[in-house]
Amino acid sequence: MSSKSDQSKMSLDRRRLLQGLAALPLVSMSGLSFGQAFPTTKVNTTGLAITDTEVTVGQLHSATGTMAISETGSIQAEQLAIDEINAMGGILGRKIKVIKEDGASDWPTFAEKSRKLLVNDKVATVFGCWTSASRKAVLPIFEKENGLLYYPTFYEGLEQSKNVIYTGQEATQQIIWGLDWAQKEKGAKKFFLVGSDYIWPRTSMKIARKHIENFQKGSVVGEEYYPLGNTNFNSLINKIKIAKPDCIFCAVVGGSNVAFYKQLKAAGITANKQFLLTLSVTEDEMLGIGGENFEGFYASMKYFQSLENDNNKKFVAAFKAKYGPKAVIGDVTQAAYLGPWLWKAAVEKAGSFDVDKVVAASPGIELKTAPEGYVKIHENHHLWSKTRIGMGQADGQFKVVAESPELIEPNPFPKGYQ
């Protein structure tokens, strides 16, 4: 049928004609191949970089600069997923080719590189960004050029774009169930909130405070923010000692994170005396903090490397086979791994690589093979997912001690929490 439809466009578009002719021998050669079911002219009506055998995608993370610490895991996980998909035969009969761009931890560079990927390279989709700042920098470009971005990091919410699929948790998913667990299981009533001073911790703590005060009827006995990169927490620790909270609830990031836990331990605040729940320590951060400094403290995440299920065992084994036995997998790394798989499912459902059709097909897409278990894309482009509580171990891993019974609905614009 393809040749007929090609012929009808012949007079309209010389280039299409040539493409159609090029596809002819392929169609006649392999009667059962995808080439026949999904000719390039059908699956690509917007001029993306797609041939009969290949589809080009972009990857945009910081491989250099300060954020390389965090983004390396995402780069590796996305590559692993793409390799696995290619080994299965690719998407609609086409192998995935990746163009890697380096955002270099610099937000204008992210914007520039995303324009290059979308305008010059005509990539079908982009897996990328890590910080909210980099996402905000590329968002207008993705919306203007009608690109598609899979964004892996857990973040503050308050955003929803037609052109972005958010594979990490938004703030309410990560926070609310964790706080309820702290109240129920640990009897926490008095909370001390600590964060680095930028948008994600501030928004997260705002949600946490509303939930503690309005829904749990507990109290917030302190709320403190320190500049990014701050390495001295001794005065803060003394304030915590005076306030005597049941729970230190924290979202400290980057180099500050390491300093915070080393100094907590040095000040005698250890897990046997103090309950601490954090939003910002994954297995990746544990490498820098050192398991002995976080032992017995808790983190609220959707994924831990130690999760016991068959999907995850396979994922961890494949990741270690590719990146070495010492490689660790944090929450965001797993979320990044979901990106290519979710895109594959959406493209196959849509039967097309066109961004509009893939976006339209995305809500309702399920992934039963996700390492974190079952996930589903919501109408608002975020994922339904479970939240887990992990307890830090001396070897740098987490022991999963609790798990939300149901999938938690993503709610990027939570009413009553603003």
Binding site: T66, Y225, S235, G255, V258, G268
Partner: protein
């Protein structure tokens, strides 16, 4: 709150100020030697600290795999090596880069900034982009708790003691040794020093290398309280410059006093205000004083 609790908190808060003083002084000291004595703005100071931190990491990994029994004792040896390795890199950097730029002080700023970026990428390629965590000896961890409710951080005491030793050593060397004499002569009047037979080129190289070595010691010591990663050094560079500029570039005593002043202001204001506001207050104080005294707290008495 009981009287005992207030007393304990006051003690711990006093120590917090003291330990911040030690940290600031130790990170500023190497810079003060280089900036103060040579006028070179070394933007790669933080990366020389990172060299020290990675030396500790290397030693701890080697000790763990080759001689696990020695894990309690490797630390002091590793600190000495951190000095030597950073010293060697400093010597190299001066020979390859800095010595060509003495007559163009603003270009050293650019050159050392480039050096710092290059070194960061070198760390990233060698040790990987992720942070690492050296295994520290048990005696450096945790707190000393003489009474219930009073915890004095052991790593804080360690950094304090090390700072006293290093600062004492540098002051002694600068005012009692032949090298110190040559350095002071060169600072006071380079042409004259040259004329009376001081090899100012060698003096410069040694001074730069010693400054880098001291930075290495600081970086090594900070593995007990902070992170070890390719960009860890950049966490300290701003504060280090602040301490040196505020103290008056050409005076080591100025650096000591300025570190003490900044540490106390910051630690006390952090206790009564929020973290970010405390930083604003500290910076405001520094800016105001520098507007009144652009030469810093202590100006060197040099005829120019």
């Amino acid at each position: 709150m009981t009287f005992d609790e207030i007393y304990n908190i006051a003690l711990m808060q006093g120590f917090a100020g003291l330990s911040l003083f030690a940290v600031l002084l130790l990170m500023g000291l190497g810079l003060a030697i280089i900036f103060g004595q040579m006028g070179v703005i070394n933007m790669a100071h933080g990366e020389f600290m990172t060299i020290g931190a990675y030396t500790i990491f290397l030693f701890s990994s080697l000790t763990e795999s080759l001689a696990p029994g020695l894990i309690q004792v490797y630390f002091p040896i590793a600190i000495v090596c951190a000095f030597l390795i950073a010293f060697a890199f400093g010597w190299l950097a001066e020979w390859a880069l800095i010595r060509h730029l003495y007559k163009r002080p603003l270009d050293t700023l650019l050159a050392t900034w480039g050096l710092s970026l290059g070194m960061q990428q070198l760390f990233r390629s060698t040790f990987g982009p992720k942070e690492v965590s050296p295994t520290l000896p048990d005696w450096l961890m945790g707190s000393w708790a003489p009474t219930e409710g009073l915890d004095i951080p052991i790593n804080g005491m360690f950094v304090l003691a090390l700072t006293v030793v290093v600062t004492g050593g540098v002051l002694l060397a600068l005012y009692k040794s032949r090298w110190g004499l040559r350095v002071r002569a060169t600072v006071a009047n380079r042409t004259m020093a040259n004329a009376i037979g001081i090899n100012t080129t060698r003096t410069d190289r040694l001074t730069f290398a010693i400054g880098c070595g001291v930075a290495g010691v600081a970086g090594a010591a900070f593995t007990t309280i902070g992170s070890t990663g390719p960009t860890s050094g950049s966490l300290y560079i701003v504060d280090a410059f602040l301490v040196v500029t505020f103290g008056g570039a050409a005076s080591l005593w100025g650096t000591v006093v300025s570190a003490f002043g900044i540490a106390q202001t910051q630690s006390i204001s952090e206790f009564f205000l929020s973290g970010s506001n405390a930083k604003v207050l500290t910076l405001l104080m520094i800016v105001t004083i520098l507007m009144l005294r652009p030469q810093g707290l202590f100006a060197a008495k040099v005829r120019r």
